[in-house]
């Protein structure tokens, strides 16, 4: 297992999660569509992380 490659891949996913949360948080009251999309993005990214298909990520 390439530890460095896994680290970089996971870091990219975590940054994408934070970006989605940060994009949505200021617009909770004024842009429900944007917030809903960000939440869907978060759920999708977290599902990929928790599936943990490391071999697939690094292939």
């Amino acid at each position: 297992m390439n530890a460095r490659a896994l680290d970089e891949h996971l870091e990219a996913m975590v940054l994408a999660l934070h970006a989605a949360v940060n994009r949505a948080m200021p617009h909770v009251k004024d842009d429900p569509a944007l917030v809903d999309q960000a939440l869907r993005d978060c759920e999708e990214i977290l599902e990929v992380i928790l599936d943990g298909d490391v071999a697939g990520w690094l292939a």
């Binding site: 297992m1 530890a3 460095r4 896994l6 680290d7 996971l10 870091e11 996913m13 975590v14 999660l17 934070h18 989605a20 949360v21 949505a24 948080m25 909770v28 429900p32 917030v35 809903d36 960000a38 939440l39 978060c42 759920e43 977290l46 599902e47 992380i49 928790l50 599936d51 943990g52 298909d53 490391v54």
Partner: protein, 241 residues
């Protein structure tokens, strides 16, 4: 206890260390990584879609992102000393090292108390490594502990809100505290653990299991009472004493 090891070790030095040090270091990194990713496995699929408000859902997502990042940082350290912990990412909950991570969180009350009680134990576990002999582990602590403090504070606030409502809400949150409190105390391990002594000998931990558990109880018990709740009997429902 005999004279503890006080040198600072870098990853390049680990291979020169005695086998016991290497074994204990790899074990503690694997357990820490397991606990970090074990949290999101408990609540993301069950709680994120149904948290009370969109702000709460975003906070659950941010919490999971931070825990996943903690896993990443610890996994990187483990990889540097030849310990592959990638399988922990998808390990079934029932196989987690620590009992508190072996179930599923299905209610918002559980999520609140998990932050209040279990993430607080997580902070204690991380604080064990302050000043530890493995320098790369100590270096990652400030950011990780700071984020854990945010999770604990959020759990504390939400738990206190439930208690303040009184009536059935207060009864329910008391029941959730009663369920998680013994699991929190068990997370510190056996009082007479020989392995705990060896961790201390090698400078990988600071306190005995009993010392850390007692400090935790001194911190959290008054917080429970301040919410008007009852501190559970610390001898009930325990696996390790």
């Amino acid at each position: 206890m005999d004279t503890p090891f006080t040198d600072k070790i870098e990853s390049a030095d680990v291979a020169k260390m005695p086998a016991e040090y290497q074994t204990l270091l790899k074990r503690v990194l694997a357990i820490q990584a397991d606990c970090e990713i074990g949290g999101p496995h408990l609540y993301v699929r069950s709680i994120l879609p149904d948290a009370p408000t969109k702000v709460d859902r975003l906070i659950v997502a941010r919490t999971a992102a931070e825990e996943a990042d903690h896993y990443r940082k610890v996994a990187r350290l483990a990889g540097e000393v030849g310990e592959d912990v990638s399988a922990l990412l998808s390990r079934p909950n029932r196989e987690r090292y620590v009992n508190a991570f072996r179930g599923t969180i299905t209610s918002w009350e559980d999520f609140a108390v998990f932050g209040f009680l279990i993430d607080r134990v997580g902070r204690y576990q991380l604080e064990e490594f302050i000043g530890c002999s493995y320098a790369p582990l100590e270096r990652l602590l400030p950011d990780v502990i700071n984020e854990e403090l945010g999770h604990i504070d959020y759990g504390h606030t939400k738990t206190a809100e439930f208690a303040a409502r009184g009536g059935r809400d207060k009864e329910r949150i008391q029941g959730v505290i009663d369920a998680w409190y013994p699991k929190a105390l068990d997370m510190f391990g056996n009082t007479g653990s020989r392995r705990s002594e060896r961790y201390r000998h090698w400078g990988l931990k600071r306190r005995t299991n009993a010392q850390a558990r007692e400090e935790y109880m001194r911190e959290v018990d008054p917080l429970i009472r301040a919410m008007g709740l009852t501190v559970p009997d610390p001898t009930v429902g325990r696996e390790f004493v």
